[in-house]
Amino acid sequence: MTVNPMYHQTNQRMEEELSWIRRAQKDPESFGPLYKKYHEQIFRYIYQRMDDEEQAFDITSQVFMKALNNLHKYEYRGVPFSSWLYRIAKSELYQSFRDRKSERTVNIESYQLFEMIDEIEEDNSEMNKKRLFASLAKLKEKDMQLIEMRFFEKRSFKEMGEILEITENNAKVKTFRAIEKLKQLFNTKS
């Protein structure tokens, strides 16, 4: 399985990013390069989980606004700046769901469904595709977000751990359990 290449950065890139952050901490206008670099990633993360495009752009703006206002609190811990942004994005997204400004939606591509069917060791038939589709809709949010990150967004367990604020191993274990639950739902249906 391929993983998100944006997350994995060279030391040189990381250092450059850190210098942008340090500059932006002193002068907010220097936040521009970080905004440009991460805007699309954050937008896609948000839009993946909701249906309303405009709302997704608004929430993305809010994420960067919050990041800018709280940049003085940011501490470099050897992980990409995006992890911090994703955590803000997650918090803003869930706040929007709680405020009923938007609805939680799961967006899947057909090919991703087939990959999932392979994962749960079932036949790649049209019938199974429909069953899996229905099973995904029944999955709980905490399991769904792991499957979403791992299979639809192709994130590494390390990155998942950093976004969800858990260890890499824990992310691995939790994802495995989520797949088991999906399998159960899939088989219950049949």
């Binding site: 703006s61 960067f64 800018l68 967006n107 591509e109 809709a137």
Partner: protein
């Protein structure tokens, strides 16, 4: 949280489209607008509040400590029956304001820590009583007293309306011959003195003599002269009649007898 909807193969947004929607200036402006000023933040109020409380507490504690020290420095109480006199709490108080009786009391060697009371047939004496929490009582008592003795003669005598005098002296040093030649207690106004009390040492103890006239009996003068040279004599409870025949209480006379 409930998953409301599952979309299959939703149209993908292109990177160029997403890039077009970037608006860093808007984010920057909004961030500036939504930023809570320092003085509005709860941290600011917490810090300011705490420091205010600390300052108030410090000021209050300092004030109390100062007050307590002042009290400890010079708390002399003289209980004189029937009249009561209390020495000024503040040692730095000007001499004019400190009744000479107290100065003299402090100066006299008869300072005692315990009250001494003697009951006699027609009078009662409660000797000088000093109340102080300071261990080095003698130091504190004697120092200001010594200073004050020298100042008694220098300090201008404050005359009050109706102030009674003996030979024109109300407070301060009176010579033996002046006392001997004085037969009356007089008032500087039109008060007619009707009674008074004299506290003096009769050779054995302090006594209080009650006199029901403005005259100074010869026998009293002799006893005072014989036993009180260098000592204080307190004439208190002086009562007189004003122009309308109304009884009024007049200020005391505090004298130090000298040769």
């Amino acid at each position: 949280m409930e998953i409301k909807k599952v979309n299959l193969d939703r149209q993908n947004l292109s990177s160029s489209y997403i890039e077009k929607r970037q608006d860093f200036n808007h984010v920057l402006k909004s961030a500036k607008m939504t930023k809570i000023p320092t003085w509005k933040s709860p941290w600011f109020y917490g810090a300011v509040g705490l420091s205010s409380v600390a300052i108030v507490a410090m000021v209050f504690t300092n004030y109390n400590i100062k007050k307590e020290l002042d009290d400890k420095k010079a708390t002399l109480k003289i209980n004189n029956n029937p009249s009561k006199a209390v020495i000024a709490k503040n040692a730095s108080k000007s001499m004019e304001e400190i009744p000479n009786a107290h100065i003299a009391t402090a100066q006299s060697s008869t300072l005692q820590k315990e009250a001494l009371s003697t009951n006699q047939s027609d009078f009662k004496i409660e000797k000088v009583s000093i109340e102080t929490n300071v261990d080095n009582t003698n130091e504190i008592v004697s120092e200001p007293a010594a200073e004050s003795t020298t100042q008694i003669s220098k300090a201008p005598v404050k005359r009050q309306i109706g102030q009674p005098t003996i030979n024109g002296i109300a407070n301060g040093i009176i010579r033996v011959d002046h006392l001997k030649n004085s037969n009356l207690i007089e008032s500087n106004s039109s008060f007619e003195i009707t009674s008074y009390e004299v506290q003096y040492f009769n050779g054995k103890q302090d006594v209080v003599a009650q006199i029901r006239s403005n005259a100074i009996p010869e026998e009293l003068k002799d006893q005072i002269i014989a036993n009180n040279i260098g000592e204080m004599i307190f004439i208190t409870g002086i009562k007189g009649l004003d122009e309308n025949g109304k009884i009024v209480k007049l200020p005391s006379i505090n004298l130090k007898l000298s040769k």
